[in-house]
Symmetry: C3
């Protein structure tokens, strides 16, 4: 059986197959969807809440004819969860065909996979990884730049998060990648990721004090991958937050300086990272990126359940 636990488990060939399937599922969806997952049950098991990821997987399941069991916050709601995590997973797996798991601790997706009798999909395990969100980022790059090899990426904002981590693991599988990490000290990219990139010969630079609305830092890149800087990091220094946020936001001037072929990505929703002008800019593809998430997650579900639309 196939669990989706972390970026490292994928080969470049796996990714190609998944992306081809994703784009064919887009066509199928446009024609009204399919019922290849009819009779299957996806269980959303969220120990910390998520609206976007949970709905995205559940919509993917419904669009392919499947059904859903769902908990929005298993840790609040379950007195039963006072026992062994593994027992709960095994119990839930007996009722499900696939479990999408989000947990607040690293490594819990693997712990779940060790005992589950159905595929586990990691929808975020603590600060560790969020591979399916990174997969849709990668699919977006692949699709809009005609491939990932040779890509130059500026990652801006909170780089300590699990999606950025998973994305770096994925990027390390490609050739000629160069990354600039642009973030305040508080949310900089973690050492283990830097070591992994070095070991896989990925060029990267770190910038912790950007100037001039990022103009010089983004004008040559193919991808600006920007995220919210959570206020939570600045609880003791809320004035700092306002000053900081301005330095890590893409300015209108930087937008104008960017290459015509470049793309701007964001996981949504935004705070103040992007200029008002960006919504009408054809290079801003964050809403399409979000929509691709649905196709990629449909492809993931078909793959782990080995059920494909007939007329593929």
């Amino acid at each position: 059986m196939f669990h989706l636990l972390e970026a490292q488990q994928f080969t470049k060939r796996n990714l190609r197959e998944l992306f081809d399937l994703s784009s064919r599922l887009e066509t199928i969806l446009a024609r009204g969807g399919d019922e290849c997952l009819k009779g299957k049950i996806l269980t959303s098991l969220y120990f910390t809440p998520s609206l976007r990821t949970r709905f995205s997987f559940e919509a993917a399941m419904l669009r392919l004819g499947g059904s859903i069991l769902s908990t929005e916050a298993a840790d609040i709601f379950s007195s039963e969860l006072k026992g062994r995590f593994e027992d709960t997973i095994q119990v839930v797996s007996e009722m499900s065909d696939v479990i999408v798991l989000r947990h607040y601790e690293s490594g819990f997706a693997k712990r779940a996979a060790a005992v589950s009798c159905v595929p586990i999909i990691n929808a975020g395990d603590g600060p560790a990884q969020h591979p399916t969100q990174a997969l849709l980022d990668l699919y977006t790059i692949d699709r809009h730049l005609g491939g990932v090899d040779g890509c130059s990426i500026a990652m801006v904002g909170d780089l300590s998060g699990r999606t950025v981590r998973s994305l770096c693991y994925f990027l390390a599988k490609f050739h000629g990648i160069s990354i600039s990490f642009i973030s305040p000290d508080l949310t900089e990219i973690k050492d283990d990721i830097k070591e992994y990139l070095q070991r896989h010969k990925v060029r990267f630079t770190e910038i912790t004090n950007p100037k001039d609305g990022l103009v010089d830092l983004v004008k040559e890149v193919d991808v600006v991958h920007i995220t919210q800087l959570s206020k939570e990091y600045f609880t003791d220094h809320l004035e700092d937050y306002k000053k900081t946020i301005r330095n890590y936001a893409l300015s209108a001037k930087a937008l104008r300086a960017m290459k015509r072929s470049a793309v701007i990505m964001h996981p949504l929703p935004r705070a103040d990272e992007l200029p008002d002008e960006s919504d009408s800019d054809p290079r801003a593809i964050y809403f399409r990126q979000n929509r691709y998430g649905l196709y990629v997650r449909m492809a993931i579900l078909c793959t782990v359940l080995s059920c494909y639309p007939k007329f593929l």
Copy 2:
């Protein structure tokens, strides 16, 4: 595309069509429902919780063959909602065919409609409006009194709420309406509604100190529309609450005094607004009123999605 945002957007003709469809859907439901919404996804997006309204819309969707994504309390559960509300709506709308939205602030249904790529149905936006609840009230009146024109209505209890507001906007579309607003000062009808009614030539009176169990106030009306007086309004004066509640409850004597053709409506569940005798009184139609909600909401879903049962 058609959003359902506020009572004012309806014409009398829209209402007629919706009510005709509602009553035909009742027949269809009695015959086992329909699958005209098969493959469609309704997303329940509740920023404040609701059991009755959420279940009513979701049941309407299921009875017509559709599917559901649901959050019971988006504001508790979604760290992602720290960003722009509009981004979240746009993201969710990409996964849905229709969004039923409840929000704690006025005007958020309109803000959602401005960016959503699917119909938005306002299931309550702060203190502003709750048009679908008022629609089922209006449908109940229309059905049981053979039309709304010429109707005399006593509205009793909490008149500051959004359903009463929406209902007043609806009533202003009809001829010969007269309303008596009976409530404590704390929950009286708001000035903007009174101005709207004056502008539309609806006769109304206000009573803030009713006596004698409402006998004189209800004996001539066609409709008693009564609601709970929330304890929350009396937090500092809980003794006041008990005294007040008694004045705004329908007494057994008032029940006996009411016209034979009159009806008693209540959104349910009740606290102590109605006498024990009312449940066995044929004029008490609150349970049927609630059931009508299902038909009206089925009709709303068919209308905004432009999907109708075949044998209509």
Copy 3:
């Protein structure tokens, strides 16, 4: 109409029919399920949360083609619930074909049944009863020991809980049962259950100070039915907890001493009641017991809705 409210309502013949149906549904599920509940809506109405029971009933409904309305914690989420409980039940029953109700107070399942227009299934009402969990325990015993009559059972751990209560009511219907209740004073079996067992001539003993890892207490029994001792009972004496828990856990030595034909049951998830060796022991049937819950709940739904798979 048939509500499932408490263990006492069943006859031995009812149980036989339910268990026969459960085992046939297992076969049907293995062949891909059935659609006999298509078009039916199960409403999960949980006033206190539950993951295992809620998912088990919802999965049973989905596997038979039905649909679901669900609330994880009605008391948190429903401002509407400030009114009469009976009104809420009646309102929800109008939208549903069956309601599975969990409530924090004894007797609320009966109160619901008195007004609901669809079957009520009691999924736990306060400390009173949890008949469906006890039904799956009984089915497990019936299946693995070839019948319940003559069975010798050690019940270990928290015996004040509602499942143990329901199970005792069920066991009193059979012949030659003997029970040993093994628990600390804090969680001992309640007097009313003891009186019920005496009245029905069920032999039982009580042990509140077990020694030597339960060896002597379990070596002759057919069933070890063991549950978590909640830390909540020991809030003021957390050191006590650790000492106590050890006395009410099955030791590896006791496991070795048990009869070859015996079975070990546990509602899952476990804390520290069972030795590490038990998972690989063929007598440990708790995961199967949990799976049987799905079949038993499918059978319950078919029975209360009078809808059966065609090729039964």
